[in-house]
Symmetry: C2
């Protein structure tokens, strides 16, 4: 039900991805059926089913109320399917704060993990890198940063099959004395941890340059960095557009065959390309889709959830954090 558009985006995305997984659509049955019928799909499509939920969580609902009331909210019912073993993963375009709070309440964290983090794969020049936390935890202790390192390591192994992901801490320089004290202590913990391939500090301008596979930071800094990158990418898109618009008519005509490629560049720079954030550290797979995602975006979030399940993310986490 979540996201700016709700079922008109999520249902066609599920329909598309039902070639690869069994999908339960949780929400208002009448609205879901209406979209399925519009899409020309039989409501009894073999790998799609519907679980009716009479309520919905809206962005702006007070969190305390979301946690205590709204027992029949689609988000809660979907998470309960994972908690009771009827489903392997939840994908939601709903409110980030509510999804995180309900995920913690219903799924709980893997043992010895204090709190889940939000992690996204971003496309660097030589492939993806994973960055966390992107906003779930404003203040983080050095020990939490170490947990994030293991969580990011497990995610990179699970979804991309990396054998020994390079783990770095986001800082404002690469020398040991740079940045705040809490980072120095985190660096000491990571450096002493044999189970991680810690490669030191990475700076913002090194993120895309293949210096690390997993970039660890607190949720405040990570969220600022992510949104600043989105802002710069948006600005770059504006400049590309301005450049194109400033061309002469003859040049624009000559460019016509290439314009499709310019469009794909714009899409690659679009924050929407960052769609699909993993809530990692939970005893279950939860993927947050961007609220403004279109069908392709929501389908890619479903695809990510499938890869996390197939890569046994939760099993890796349990082995990373032995009792």
């Amino acid at each position: 039900m979540g996201g700016d558009a709700g079922p008109p985006v999520t249902v066609p995305a599920a329909l598309r991805m039902s070639a690869h997984a069994d999908i339960v659509l949780v929400g208002a049955e009448d609205r879901i059926v209406a979209v399925l019928e519009q899409s020309g799909a039989a409501p009894d499509a073999p790998r799609l089913s519907i679980l009716h939920a009479s309520e919905q969580i809206h962005t702006g609902d007070p969190l305390a109320q979301t946690l205590r009331h709204k027992r029949d909210a689609s988000m809660r019912r979907a998470l309960a399917l994972v908690a009771d073993g009827s489903a392997d993963a939840v994908v939601s375009g709903g409110d980030t704060g509510a999804l995180m709070a309900l995920s913690r309440q219903i799924l709980r964290c893997v043992q010895r993990i204090d709190r889940p983090a939000i992690c996204k794969a971003l496309q660097g020049v030589a492939g993806p890198f994973w960055m966390l936390d992107l906003g779930a935890n404003v203040d983080c202790s050095p020990s939490q940063l170490q947990q994030f390192a293991h969580m990011g390591d497990a995610l990179a192994r699970a979804v991309a099959g990396l054998q020994a992901p390079r783990v770095a801490l986001l800082n404002i320089g690469t020398e040991a004395a740079k940045g705040p004290r809490r980072l120095h202590e985190a660096a000491r913990l990571l450096d002493a941890d044999d189970r991680l391939r810690y490669v030191g500090y990475v700076e913002g301008h090194g993120l895309f340059r293949d210096q690390a596979d997993v970039v660890v930071t607190d949720g405040f800094t990570g969220n600022v960095a992510l949104k600043s990158m989105e802002g710069a990418a948006w600005m770059a898109g504006q400049l590309v557009r301005r450049w194109f618009d400033a061309l002469g008519l003859a040049e624009r005509e000559a460019l016509a065959p290439a314009r499709g490629q310019l469009e794909s560049l714009r899409r690659e720079l679009d924050p929407q390309g960052y769609n699909g954030a993993s809530f990692v550290g939970l005893a279950g797979v939860v993927v947050k889709s961007h609220g403004g995602a279109d069908t392709a975006g929501f389908a890619s979030a479903i695809d990510l959830a499938i890869r996390e399940v197939r890569g046994d993310l939760c099993g890796l986490l349990v082995r990373h954090f032995p009792a």
Copy 2:
């Protein structure tokens, strides 16, 4: 003497800008004269003079040594010219940490300002905005953030003639409860400050979208945000290049007349475009040029220093912080 290239970049830049200001070249006289002669300029050009300094500060020199010894370093001698009133501003491509430490030691802060900040004007979609601190102060109290707000306000007035700059705090959401506690206290101070036009929180993806003229943050967060934006801009440049290289030969030929514009886009996305950081809060104008700046970049840093002097930045600061 500073920057990756030294006099071969700084001297031609000074020569170019000497149409607009009297410029003292401080450093190794023989090397300066050699570049001037190569440039075809008479060493007695009317608005250029040379002050010989026998030493130079190198990146990597221990800061304590820089502060106590190297009494004849070009950077120190240049700052002393401002301290004794013989010059109005210093422009340097040298080491940022050394320049900041020597600036504080020799020029000192304007009364009631605890520490200087590093501030840059970035180009948003509707014009420049000023962001500070970009790395001088890793940890900042709410009161320091309020000082930064006044410093950024003064800079925007001095160099761009803004009448009432909109001041915002960089945060991870726009609601009052978002982000760390220290920001909530800073927001309270700014909101209660009649002399500032405080407009609330701004997020990273709003920076370029004309939501504020002055963006205030601590030096750790600001440096991470700046470098992340540079990283994203670099990545955008890589994508543009890849797109161009993927074109067919006929398309590339058709594009030839437009390629100059593509190049200017690349330059606009280049971190070098961010050249010219102001050290603001000092009793004197100090502009740091990017170490890798070319002649045009260094000349634009000189131009910024001229505008800060003409706009009476230091006078504005003194009036912002009455005794």
